[in-house]
Symmetry: C2
């Protein structure tokens, strides 16, 4: 357990913590007094049918989801919906390697799965709020893996799902890419098998990871059109140091490794004998899959493959030149496309 | 200077060495007694108009070009053409960091540019063979950068060019990707600023680089279709260790760094004030650009952008599920497409 001021109410609040008690994990470990960080916006109506769950992606908390995707000028309007922003285990606000005491903190934090996250989130939604049916579960990238797991595990719990830029079963290619992110962190001479004193000791590793994201998070088109200029940077290198390294620098390496482990193994068919089609056929929610043109590790073909297994689902590709990191809303017109799609979904 | 049995006549021969004498480089250094490794197949005809130059890509020597692209069942048929396979500086057979003596060997090897390679190759072709016009200059990936430079620098020296899976000006995205390859090598604790005793000391770094190629050299489609099975491997991990790590393990890190430096800065407009369109307008050769569908860092859009600047040029995309590494001829039908395109070009 170490202090990290990045994961704070100041920077990521306000948020509440819901204590699940001792939370048993699918891989066999237990997180004592497992805490899930959440925040709500808007009001739950009397019928309790206007609740939307929004999940968090790799490296981020739900604060960035709130900043980008939620507001009265967005489809996810707190004037209409009761929006529950909920943070994953290992994400830095909920129970995570860096904020957990010995003997299960830091490198000793147990292995967590996406399915553990969703079981934990289900408890918060049902126990804390008494909600029986969600209007929508929405999330992007790793947050979308949680959306997929919600829909397959609790098919009667929601009217709609909108997973963005992510497959229900993680691809081999994304697994291998994610492993290079781990290697970048662990290649730092100060990583010390996860027992560093301060995440700034592992800055070299965090910067190495940032530079892998410069290749895979963006894409050739982003650089060819020099979109970094529109973002206020002077060169690709200025963009990498000013945007990507700055973003990754304060993050906790053990927390990131915990998240990557889950991301790599995300697979809704895991508890259904590995039969992906059968797993996806459990989905009852109206399903709108969104993807990003030019995404380097979640390409349209992979999304289409799963989309075709889900009767009545829709796949919409977002026009973007920013690849996977489109989800940070880096260009004009991005959020309008998301809002249009979510409005169409929510009105149906 | 260290011994490396990989770069040998046994494994990469037969080859000859042409001594350029003291070779001055564009960046200001000099390579004393700079040697260019080459091999020829077929016979130069009396008219001296059947010569084809074939260049080498990053990490490889021309041996693999010979094995994949040349033969009586290929467009590049030694029964018809006099084929000169020529190796780049820093490629391991020609003068390179690992085989150069102090004080300009290993980490002290001077910075080399693609344009240096092509000036060196021009000397071999004209001085050694007395050839005034080439029927074709052919190369893939970094070998294709040499093809582009040939065509812009010596526009009257060839009838045709066929650069494969490479742009005439390297992209920012490819530059950033290439930098992660360098970081992978240099992150090895035994790299010792390039003054290692044996390249096997830097095995960890070489394996890290191999794993970056697993992401960027192949692509999502390769893994989704489990093409590694067709190649005789049992899993993605088996493919990475058995194919990629095995391939990179014997290579010399300083040689690779020398090559990457060139690759990153490949730009035919460098000596023409940075005006790419003007540089490409110098080309007189009949130009057939080939690209690979799904190439992660040389996408069709980047090739099309340059193709449209070259009057009369043709762009043909090769059907493949192997991304950039299609150039290793990893699937049925690949070499047939290359042969078809080259035959069309050579018959025109």
């Amino acid at each position: 357990m170490i202090e990290n001021k990045y994961y704070s109410q100041d920077l990521h609040g306000p948020y509440e913590l819901y204590d699940l008690g001792d939370f048993d994990l699918e891989e066999g470990g237990t997180i004592p007094n497992c805490k899930i960080a959440y925040n709500t916006l808007g009001k739950l109506n009397a019928a309790k049918d206007n609740a939307i769950v929004v999940t968090a992606w790799y490296s981020g908390t739900t604060k960035i989801m709130e900043q980008i995707y939620i507001g009265e000028d967005h489809a996810l309007d707190p004037n209409k919906y009761f929006i529950i922003l909920i943070n994953q285990i290992g994400g830095g606000l909920s129970s995570s390697p860096h904020n957990s005491p010995a003997p299960y903190g830091m490198a000793d934090f147990p292995k967590v799965r996406i399915s553990d996250d969703v079981r934990a989130q289900y408890k918060v939604i049902t126990e804390k709020f008494g909600i029986e049916k969600l209007a929508l579960v929405f999330g992007a990238s790793m947050g979308g893996q949680q959306v997929w797991e919600w829909a397959v595990r609790y098919p009667d719990m929601m009217e709609r799902i909108a997973p963005v830029a992510i497959t229900a079963k993680n691809s081999s290619h994304a697994f291998i890419f994610a492993e290079t992110l781990n290697n970048a962190l662990m290649s730092d001479a100060n990583f010390n098998a996860g027992n560093y004193k301060n995440c700034s000791d592992v800055k070299t590793g965090l910067f190495r990871q940032a530079r892998l994201w410069a290749v895979m998070g963006l894409n050739p088109e982003f650089y060819r059109q020099e979109h970094w200029q529109n973002m206020g940077f002077n060169s690709p290198e200025d963009f990498i140091t000013g945007f990507l390294e700055t973003y990754y620098e304060p993050l906790d390496p053990n927390d990131l490794l915990c998240q990557v482990w889950k991301w790599q193994r995300g697979d809704v068919s895991r508890n259904i004998g590995g039969d992906l089609k059968k797993a996806l056929s459990r989905i009852k929610a109206k399903t709108m899959i969104m993807g990003f043109k030019g995404d380097m590790f979640v390409p349209e073909a992979d999304l289409k493959y799963e989309h075709e297994m889900i009767a009545g689902s829709e796949l919409r590709m977002i026009d973007t030149i920013c690849g996977h990191f489109a989800l940070f809303s880096l260009e004009p017109g991005y959020i309008q496309q998301i809002n249009k799609n979510l409005n169409d979904l929510l009105s149906g």
